[in-house]
Symmetry: C2
Subunit: 461 residues, 2 copies
């Protein structure tokens, strides 16, 4: 047997199989709609039910959703598999081969700050199609919005100091790590250790060195000399054996004659970072090395960065990994995708803790001077005033001008501008007592009450 | 412009670009080793530093790692990108084009229970190669081991009742959702809503229906009738408007003449599940529908399932989603990949909170009768007794017999057998006061002390 025979196909999700990236019930419901001849237009809202531990969210994940909507296809392989399940009839599988997304999508731009209960995305399409795409849209929007939000908090906590995404090794899989680097960039963390994200998105990549590199050399000084020789201005990791001894070794090398050894920074990755950073700064400054910066990592997040900076730790940059990359304090958002209209008639769920607001909508942001003061969720054709945040990004299954891919720099610039217009108190890390107001327009409130009455009456019949 | 022109390439990680799925420093260190002529054999251990909130872990993720090791390649596209970074020299990029993984891998089988501080994986390879693959191995092993562990806890809490993985919509991306379904299966949650996982792995797929399907119909009864007509024995979601009214509607349909309406179960997805399940059971039993099962979902995890069953909730099956799929109570494990030997000489990190144990190792599990009583971490060529858990799965970059892909059923069966041999008290959901003992063999302890002394002496020189 040759080498090739042993190779197993990889377990990847990509354009070839993304159509199957769905919950089974989306397909059984699609067949039911097909069998019942129910092809009327439906409206689904994707939103985060309510904020927890956050005062705002940063919407993210739209671009991969649009790509999916314009490309997913069921291939003969997919249909052959579905046929084995004993759930699907031949005429449905024939129909499924031709299913495309032909609907409209309205969405807030990536990077836009959003709040609980308002649509990040609204899908208007024949009901089976609109339902079918739920799983992929939720999967992408949920974690990317969560990541972008966390990244913005971390970046804000760093008070202008450099922050880099170092989290790919403990993120949940490859897709998470790639998209997280993108979400971080949009939210203001604009370097990453993720080389693939660098290649794919043009994000500047950053790296230092690992403890193993130091350990592989006979002495720490040997390792420093070799690495800095190859990479002038690099960052040297000083805490493999003893952090302050590492700093002293670095200083001794800087004092050697010649220009060969000129590291740009040192990195601390363990211990009491405040104390170590202070001591390291003192040693560097005493040696006339005030241009050598101090970079810190090790279980950092927005809370820890705040503690370090409040304590006056002289740290110039942070590598933030696992706690950002897994959004460790809030690993998921309460995202949902809810039917709000079918065949022109409002729909809503009335379960006490999960009630929804019926009908197509527009989301308006109202400003007082430079600052946003409230969002108004309104009927889609109402005009209560303010800036409309839902843009038509796809029409009839094709991207509109507003739906074209945009550069990450453009997305980031708009995100920055919009985030600066939030009330300042929302940027506190703790949950505010005075959350940003989101209100329903008069028109929407009237419609909600009317739909509720209609549905209650219908159930009583 | 045609439709095709607007299409952007998707953001996927797959065989074509997995080589770039790495932290930048892996590549800069590889170039440094290349420049320094350091190609000696290194040994790296991948392990979880210590257990938190868990009494055991279930190792998972090896198969995607082996696939990566045997397939990753730097293509000319990759090299062209790396060239733009201004960090890499032409001779290194030429060398990189030919880099393959040519090392050996020792690993515990997927599904094996493991503990803190012992290798899940040991890589023996020229140092640059061994270092290069760190990011991918950690990314895959960390979250899949975390998922499998959580899944086993959930499954144990369900006390033999059916459990299904419903989490893909809020997991962190597509790779997470695909591999999580696999991890769940190995750990004993053997149905999933994830159709792609069904196709790729042969995992039985399961689905019920969404609230939107009910809402799209004029009445709940219309929706029930249509869906159950198409899918006999299906599960009907009863809580769109009022859960017990939904149960009554289902019962009324069952009483209509004929055989047409025969649902297998109903699903509760909101409210007080214990009370609702009791009432639903009573109504069903009074109607002679004791064969109709009750399926529950909504923010479930092992703690909530335990509460429900302790309260006597008559629930026959659980759909477990977000809290399992994101491992919400513990979104990451403290996984690391550490150099323990270079050029035949032990290496260790001595930072107080992050010290490692040097040298190649074997992990032995010692039994007393049927039950495991301790693990002994030993020198790789020591034989302190017990069952050796690290198997050679790859030699010279090629899979060994032990490294061949195995069926998920075989992996699950072995996992079950091994998990049954754990001390019973470890299966408690709370952290135990008497953790499973993991000890160092005499040989390993002597080597650790010797390496430490050698390194301390070297640093003093």
């Amino acid at each position: 047997m040759t080498d090739a025979v042993h190779r197993t196909p990889g377990d990847w999700v990509c354009d070839d199989n993304a159509a199957l990236f769905t919950d089974l019930y989306q397909l059984t419901m699609l067949q039911a709609y097909f069998a019942e001849g129910m092809h009327e237009e439906a409206v689904f809202d994707l939103f985060i039910r309510r904020l927890r531990k956050r005062n705002y969210l940063v919407a993210c994940g739209l671009e991969p959703c649009l790509h999916f909507l314009e490309t997913f296809r069921f291939t003969s392989d997919h249909l052959a598999y579905l046929d084995t399940l004993g759930l699907f009839k031949p005429d449905f599988l024939t129909y499924l081969a031709d299913v495309r997304f032909t609907g409209d999508v309205y969405a807030v731009a990536e990077g836009t700050p959003v709040f609980g209960g308002t649509p990040l995305l609204e899908v208007v399409a024949p009901i089976g199609q609109a339902q079918l795409v739920e799983t992929f849209l939720l999967n992408q929007m949920t974690f990317q919005t969560n990541l972008a939000t966390k990244a913005h908090r971390v970046r804000h906590a760093a008070r202008g100091r450099a922050v880099s995404d170092f989290g790919m090794r403990r993120m949940h899989g490859t897709d998470a790590a790639l998209k997280a680097a993108r979400a971080c960039y949009i939210a203001g963390i604009q370097t990453t250790s993720n080389v693939l994200a660098g290649q794919r998105y043009g994000i500047p990549v950053l790296g230092t060195m690992a403890h193993s590199y130091i350990e592989a050399h006979a002495t720490e000084a040997d390792a420093f000399r070799a690495f800095a020789g190859l990479y002038p201005d690099t960052t040297l990791l000083v805490d493999t054996y003893d952090a302050l001894d590492g700093v002293r070794a670095l200083i001794a090398l800087c004092r050697e004659p010649g220009e060969a050894f000129r590291p740009g920074a040192l990195r601390l990755d363990s211990g009491d970072l405040t104390t170590l950073a202070r001591e390291a700064r003192r040693l560097l400054d005493e040696a006339g090395l005030d241009h050598v910066k101090i970079f810190a990592s090790n279980s950092l997040d927005e809370q820890e960065i705040t503690r370090l900076l409040d304590a006056g730790a002289p740290i110039d940059g942070f590598g933030v990994g696992t706690r950002l990359g897994t959004v460790a304090d809030l690993p998921y958002l309460d995202s949902v995708y809810k039917l709000v209209e079918y065949a022109g008639e409002g729909r809503m769920k009335m379960a006490p803790d999960k009630a929804t607001v019926p009908g197509r909508k527009q989301l308006y942001r109202v400003y007082d001077g430079e600052k946003a003061v409230r969002d108004v969720l309104a009927l889609h054709d109402e005009a209560p005033g303010g800036e409309a945040l839902l843009h038509c990004v796809m029409r009839g299954g094709q991207r509109t001008e507003a739906g074209r891919p945009r550069s990450l720099d453009a997305l980031h610039a708009d995100a920055e501008a919009a985030l600066r217009r939030l009330p300042d108190h929302l940027l506190a890390l703790e949950e505010t007592d005075t959350p940003y107001p989101v209100v329903l327009s008069d028109g929407l409130r009237i419609r909600r009450d009317r739909v509720r009455a209609m549905l209650e009456q219908r159930m009583d019949v």
